[in-house]
């Protein structure tokens, strides 16, 4: 199997994964709610794909996941799309040129991406819009959501690492 063919199959696998995760997130009463929030699984998928793929595919999958996240709660393209586009591109470039795509680096990247994306979301959707008492939303909901998303990204790391190792060009 050539690299190109393997890439196509991996992208197909990622696409199916994104669809399944989207279904998982949007199905009522399927995901349990812990401490008033649910994890953002599409963000986990976008970050884990980025650690294994190159910049442009990472960016594209980041765009897709971001759009699905944004349109899940509004009819507008928002923070998640723009932030994941840039961050997934950066992680894709860094994982292929600057750092090794191992678990430790992934944890650091996942933490940074999760924190920055949710902080941007908090700023643009709560602070800049002038909502009252945004701090209580941050402590009662957002921290829990960030923590759950970070924990779930570990699971997706191993899933996508499996995809990457199974569907790779023979060396």
């Amino acid at each position: 199997m050539t690299e190109k063919t393997a890439s196509v199959f991996r992208y197909l696998a990622y696409t199916v994964e994104i669809i399944l995760v989207f279904v998982l997130c949007t199905t009522p009463r399927l995901l349990p709610e812990l401490w008033g929030a649910k994890p953002c699984l599409l963000l986990c998928v976008a970050v884990t794909i980025s650690i294994f793929e190159r910049e442009i595919p990472s960016m594209i999958f980041g765009i897709v996941c971001g759009v699905l996240i944004d349109l899940g709660y509004s009819n507008a393209i928002g923070v998640f799309t723009v932030a994941l586009t840039v961050l997934c591109f950066v992680i894709g470039y860094a994982a292929n040129n600057l750092i090794r795509a191992n678990f430790t680096n992934f944890i650091i990247c996942s933490f940074l991406v999760t924190a920055s994306v949710f902080m941007l979301y908090f700023l643009f959707e709560y602070v800049f819009k002038g909502y009252t008492d945004p701090w209580s939303y941050f402590t009662q909901n957002l921290i829990s959501r960030m923590a759950q998303t970070f924990v779930c990204s570990v699971v997706f790391y191993f899933i996508n690492r499996f995809f990457y190792r199974m569907i790779s060009a023979e060396e």
Partner: protein, 282 residues
């Protein structure tokens, strides 16, 4: 690094970013935009399938919670059903009491005890029946029993909670009565000859009586056993009794005594008098 920043990939990133920012501004300011329409349209089918698949009608309740809610609703239903039965009983009693309200208005001195017919005496061919009131309600033997249309009988036996009523169709009944129109007096007593037709006999009429068909016969109240002026029935026929050479009138009570369901017992009235002797007074 400089080369990377000038590379095609960065240009692609910047281009895509520019487009996304423009789309973001566009979609933020235009509510029903084509972007959301397209994306939501693509995902709507998927969402409806997953929503339908998980819609078990439980509305977020667990099986245990549903079971508890079912038991609670079942108990509430049983309570409501009991209340409904009670409501109908109260309603029918109210209807029954209203029937005797007019009688009470016409005779404010009457002390009435409304009662319901419990059963009929199968050995009695004169439509005797039992009522659900007894001595505990102040009922005693000899008390007149009335319906909203008039006198229908008297209490022959009485225990604590029930009493037996002998109707005006019975030969054991003897009531002093008068024709309201002609003033002729006589005795109302039952006869097996007429009882099956729900009729009784106004007997012991004088030769010169002026009783006519259609006349209303009422109680005289002379003996103090029955109140004065209680309607007994209407004359439907006139006859002559060759046995004792007296005239009589056949009276039909206003009530079908075979179908009495409720009545009122007059336990007290102005002029109530002598002790009942034998089967009845007079």
């Amino acid at each position: 690094m400089k080369e990377f920043l000038k590379s095609t990939k960065i240009k692609i990133l910047l281009s895509v970013l520019l487009v996304l920012v423009m789309l973001s501004v566009f979609t933020q300011n235009v509510g029903n935009n084509f972007v959301s329409t397209v994306i939501n349209g693509m995902t709507a089918g998927l969402s409806s399938v997953t929503a339908a698949a998980t819609d078990d009608g439980k509305d977020g309740l667990s099986d245990q919670e549903l079971l508890e809610e079912y038991k609670k609703l079942k108990k509430e239903n049983a309570d409501l059903r009991a209340q409904l039965v009670d409501y109908y009983a109260v309603k029918s009693e109210n209807v029954r009491l209203w029937k005797f309200y007019e009688l009470k208005k016409q005779h404010p001195d009457f002390t009435l005890v409304p009662a319901m017919a419990l059963r009929r005496d199968t050995n009695d061919e004169f439509s005797a029946f039992s009522l659900d009131k007894g001595s505990s309600s102040g009922v005693k033997e000899g008390d007149p029993v009335v319906s909203e249309t008039g006198l229908i009988g008297w209490v022959s036996e009485c225990d604590l909670n029930t009493c037996k009523v002998v109707t005006v169709l019975s030969p054991g009944t003897r009531i002093g009565a008068e024709d309201t129109k002609s003033g002729d007096t006589g005795i109302v007593t039952g006869s097996s000859k007429y009882a099956y037709r729900n009729q009784t006999v106004f007997s012991k009429l004088t030769y010169s009586n002026q009783v006519e068909v259609g006349d209303i016969i009422t109680t005289t109240g002379v003996s103090g056993i029955y109140p004065k002026g209680l309607p007994i029935g209407e004359v439907v026929d006139l006859g002559y009794d060759t046995y004792d050479s007296s005239y009589y009138a056949v009276i039909e009570p206003y009530e079908n005594l075979k179908k009495i369901t409720d009545a009122a017992i007059i336990i007290g009235f102005s002029g109530q008098g002598e002790i009942l002797i034998g089967d009845s007074g007079e």
